[in-house]
Amino acid sequence: MSTKSKSIETKTDINQDERLKKVSKLRLLLNRPELGALGGAILVFIFFGIVAGDTGMFSAYGVLNFLDVSANLGIIAIAAAMLMIGGEFDLSIGSMIGFAGICIAIPAIYWGWPLWMSIIFAFSMAVLVGYFNGILVVRTGLPSFIVTLAMLFILRGATLAITRLITGRTQVPGLRVLIEDDPLAWIFATDTFKWVFTWLGSMNLIALRTDGTPLATGIPPSVIWFIALAIITTWILMKTRYGNWIFASGGDKNGANNVGVPVGRVKISLFIGTAVAATIFATIQVLDAGSADTMRGTLKELEAIAAAVVGGCLLTGGYGSAIGAAFGALIFGTVSMGIFYTDVDTDWFKVFLGAMMLIAVIFNNYIRRKVTESK
């Protein structure tokens, strides 16, 4: 937030134009794409604060629970948002999650690779898949919607076929024992800030198990990844040359090309970004569950896109924000978990998800007209 206030100051510095109305900070905020998602998130918290305030949803354990769900979705939503700002879709995110999962599990369990090597292998495959998606879209000029829809089926089918071929099953369990002492796996599998929770527990500030250890043991890795990604991507979008290129590539591909933006390379890198994000998601979940499931991540691509849209991304590209997508994911995660604490049947979650997205699209469309209308 400090960067925002700084840029406001410089704006007033260079404009002593009396025709320039003094723009309030509120007005400036209204022009930001993530406004809707921020407001939505606040509303959601107020709602559950009233409805489920005393149910344990906002205990340390409850908060970590919905943060974990939000963070998992957020990791892929942020990458999907970056790609959408760059003007493309990736529908293969969900299938990539399943594929990355077995890329870790099969080498580790059946081929005897060390876990770290399997993880690196999975990320290498992600880069390949992302590159392939990107180069197909850039070279053929086909809509990414179609190209990645094809990849959705190809990857999911290949995941199933390969897993059954090698293992005879559709699930690969047995990873948990490999995590310990692995030089790489801890990045995806360690709860952090445990001492805070131990201390809070010892002060009797948070709920304890019967053996005296706190119920919430630490910040899950997904949350750390999520926050780190949200900060890094927002910095990239707002503060770097590459960020400007992403907006330009999505806003007007030909125009950007004509002034020297390497549109093709930007788009390919963003496709690699979504595949890598899907692999981060998969690695965290596979290590957490101790097993890889070929169906893992089904429909996740649509949730990620929904979160990105709620976060202010336009379907036409060139506009949006990573932090908005993070808020979008927070809304979905909070509601999907919070609904358990209310009397509402959980079946209604999907209804909420759809309605939320519809409202967001209408709102975004309105904002876009505001931003581009002639004065």
Binding site: S7, T10, K11, I14, N15, D17, R19, L20, V23, K239, T240, R241, G243, N244, W245, F247, A248, G251, D252, N254, G255, A256, N258, V259, G260, V261, L314, G318, Y319, R368, V371, T372, E373, S374, K375
Partner: protein, 264 residues
């Protein structure tokens, strides 16, 4: 010899059997505005793309500042100082004035590997540059979509000049604009030329071209009908040289007849 800033000698371009351009010659000095006139299908687009380095000419030579050159890509042309502003302007309406101004050529600051886009400096330059040409950019972080058509055109031209254009190739800069907006843009073009740029103004509107041009080249069906100094040719003569001229005369006669018949 190198009296001319840029010379395009006997340029021809063929697409298979189609002769898109044949023996087109244009020479420009510093500070000169040459208007390239032609109706739709006259070969204007092909010529622009040849000037911009998108197409390679099949015949003829391009001489920039006395040196014979071949453009392999649009970037080559740009590096030689020949900047083309297309009709679509290469502006992204959702992005801010500053981000558009520096799109693809952002000023950077900071240590290696952590270089960031110097937004403050960019804002300052963009506001400065736009101020110089009398366009009041209320706020350089406002979206380009909020600007008028004329302001956008001027932004695109101003950007090309800032990044070192010596020869400006402008593709129909006034075609989508109202009378007032068009005059703003034309005024800016004259100002740019007076600062030592050579301008090739491509248009089908003689009324916009005639007041600002120093010389006029008329293109018809891929061939040049010749280049004329302003003193050697009248607006009416230019109009009738374009394929449209004859048509318009015919239209005028027809309309008169229609008027007569309705008057009766």
């Amino acid at each position: 010899m190198s009296d001319y800033l840029v010379q395009f000698n006997n340029i021809s371009k063929f697409f298979g059997k189609v002769i898109a351009l044949k023996d087109v010659t244009m020479k420009l000095k510093k500070g000169e505005i040459m208007c390239l006139l032609g109706d739709n299908g006259a070969g204007k687009s092909t010529l622009i793309k040849t000037l911009a380095g998108v197409h390679k000419p099949d015949e003829g030579e391009i001489i920039v500042e006395g040196k014979k050159t071949i453009f392999d890509s649009p970037k080559d042309a740009l590096d030689m100082g020949i900047a083309t502003v297309y009709q679509d302007l290469a502006l992204v309406s959702l992005m801010s004035v500053t981000r558009n101004f520096f799109m693809g050529r952002e000023p950077m600051k900071g240590p290696a590997f952590f270089k960031t886009f110097d937004i403050e400096k960019a804002n300052k330059i963009a506001a400065d540059r736009m101020g110089q040409i009398g366009i009041d950019v209320r706020d350089p972080s406002q979206a380009v979509g909020t600007m008028s058509g004329g302001e956008r055109q001027c932004l695109a031209i101003s950007r090309a000049i800032y990044f070192g254009a010596k020869v400006l190739v402008l593709d129909e800069p006034t075609s989508a604009l109202g009378v007032h907006q068009a005059s703003v843009v034309l005024k800016y073009i004259v100002k740019a030329a007076s600062q030592g740029l050579a301008v090739i103004l491509i248009t089908h509107n003689v009324h916009h071209a005639y007041p600002v041009g120093n010389s006029f080249t008329v293109l018809n069906r891929g061939k040049s009908l010749g280049t004329y100094e302003k003193k050697d040719i009248s607006r009416e003569k230019l109009l009738s040289m374009m394929a449209g001229g004859e048509e318009l005369n015919k239209l005028e006669v027809e309309l008169q007849e229609m008027n007569r018949s309705t008057a009766n």
